[in-house]
Amino acid sequence: MDRLGPVAQLLGLGSYLATCIAGGPTLGYFIDRWLGTAPAFTLAGLALGLVIAFVGAYRMITETLRDMERDAARKLAAKKKNDST
């Protein structure tokens, strides 16, 4: 059960990536259709979606890694405390 925390934090990573990568071009497509500027906004949306997907995923993973390190450090400290007493 120790791994549940990190796993739960990363459960949404897949659909987050999918949403960003699919959502950007979709939004761009509708803007293009509205303004008649195809394919400018579709491509811009794709680029933006990819960047946001990367940044978001990067942040989620670093956050999880930091949490795991913190947990490990906490456990180590508790163990040392137990050993000394």
Binding site: L4, G5, A8, Q9, L11, G12, S15, Y16, A18, T19, C20, G23, R33, W34, G36, L48, V51, I52, V55, G56, R59, E63, R66, D67, R70, A73, R74, A77, A78, K81
Partner: protein, 440 residues
């Protein structure tokens, strides 16, 4: 022949599947992505504002009642050593509570737990209730005519005051009708509207075009219904058809067109004949439909979740400090400003991914079950039911854990040196943690 019993069971199962496949296969399912309105207000406020009650909402209310009833039963006479229902509910609560604490720390975990666990229980119970037979099986009969158009409809048989879809294939045609709309004219008007928008044409002109489009669509739908009215093909029209081929040098398409026109002429006759047989062309709006298979419902849940996440962030850090995550001075800190801009969009992406994850999973599951029961009734659909039981619980848990995880992200200070306070405190959480505001 070691185990005659096992072979007998296997043969029985095969026979059951075969019997189902050849004789009890239902009609092709009609898949509706929108929630179906059971009641619509008679006053019309436009497409988006007309009040209506959807079957998904009814299902949501049912799930709420079920949750209230179960909790009432479980807590009616509580014991110190729990057993039965009380034990089960305490187990679920404890599991969620511990997960929440583990993910967000003692203080924040407690704060997040109430909202996140409520979301979990609601989604979970809804998803599991949707697997019971009262869902998607009976409902309101909506006849398909020129006012209520559907691209697909069932032929319902009325027996003893109850309309139902005759499930046996022995009776002849599969009871499904498809109406193909000729969108040719509508598309042309669409192109005109787009051009008018581009040319910045006056508003009245665009509105007139839109009205024209509406009319063209309605006309095309009426034609489609007339052309495909079931039974029209069964009428003895050979004499009328004979006229079509008389002229010399007519191509096949002309004959088809001619026959189609004759069909349209006789569609009213066909409809009357169908009604005389106690049948009607209609679609069924089920009274209960899985709550999360309508995009509005997961969206509203996602809104609750995201609004709470922002609320926790603001109360924990203060309005301006929390806002500085998103908006920074672009002159002194250009990279920070750009990252902040990305954060804002990521916040919306989070809302959308919350919505579509739940909606997509539940709708896909519903369609999977429908299609499997249509293709292979009996037994084959059972493993998929098991899968849906699993997915229903997992999706609720994902919603729960992401709410807690994002909440923990929101209350965490952006500056890295502030972050490790919990690490310093170790396992003993000091009340009045400086990082968070009081919970109440």
């Amino acid at each position: 022949m070691k185990n005659p019993k096992a072979i007998l069971i296997a043969l029985g199962a095969l026979a059951l599947i075969g019997f189902g496949f050849f004789f009890v296969r239902g009609p092709k399912p009609i898949i509706e992505i929108k929630g179906e309105p059971l009641w619509t207000s008679s006053s019309d406020y436009g497409e988006f504002l007309t009040p209506m009650i959807l079957n998904t909402q009814v299902a949501g209310v049912l799930a709420t009642l079920v949750i209230i009833f179960v909790c009432w039963r479980a807590t009616r006479n509580m014991k110190l050593i729990p057993s039965g229902l009380q034990n089960a509910i305490e187990g679920v609560t404890e599991f969620l509570y511990n997960t929440s604490i583990q993910m967000a720390g003692e203080k924040n975990g407690r704060r997040f737990f109430a909202v996140a666990a409520t979301l979990f229980v609601f989604i979970w119970i809804n998803n599991w209730l949707a697997l019971t037979p009262i869902y998607n099986s009976f409902g309101k009969v909506v006849p398909v005519d020129s006012h209520h158009f559907h691209e697909e409809a069932h032929i319902l048989t009325e027996q003893g005051g109850i309309s139902w879809i005759f499930p046996f294939k022995l009776g002849g045609d599969a009871p499904l009708v498809e109406f193909e709309v000729d969108m040719h004219e509508v598309d042309e008007i669409d192109a005109q509207i787009r051009q008018a928008n581009l040319d910045k044409a006056p508003r009245e002109e665009v509105l007139a075009l839109k009205e024209e489009r509406e009319e063209a669509l309605h006309h095309a739908q009426e034609l489609a219904i007339d052309a495909a009215m079931p039974g029209a093909a069964n009428l003895d029209l050979s004499e009328e058809y004979a006229v079509c081929g008389e002229e010399p040098e007519v191509s096949v398409t002309v004959i088809e067109e001619c026959k189609r026109e004759i069909n349209i002429e006789h569609s009213e006759e066909a409809r009357l004949q169908l009604e005389a047989d106690g049948k009607q062309v209609a679609v069924i709006y089920p009274y209960f439909r899985s709550f999360n298979t309508d995009l509005n419902s997961p969206l509203s849940l996602a809104f609750i979740s995201v609004v709470f996440i922002e609320f926790w962030g603001i109360t924990a850090l203060g309005f301006f400090k929390y806002g500085s995550k998103f908006i920074r001075n672009p002159i002194t800190d250009p990279i920070g400003a750009f990252v902040g801009f990305l954060e804002i969009i990521a916040e919306f992406a989070r809302l959308i991914s919350f919505t579509f994850r739940l909606f997509g999973n539940m709708l896909a599951g519903e369609i999977l079950l429908l299609v499997m029961t249509f293709l292979m009734p009996f037994l084959v659909a059972l493993p998929f039911y098991g899968l849906e039981v699993f997915v229903g619980a997992i999706q609720g848990f994902v919603f729960f854990s992401l709410t807690v995880a994002f909440g923990a992200l929101a209350v965490a200070s952006h500056d890295h040196e502030d972050h490790g306070d919990e690490h310093d405190l170790g396992e003993h959480d000091v009340p009045g943690d400086q990082q968070t505001a009081p919970a109440h």
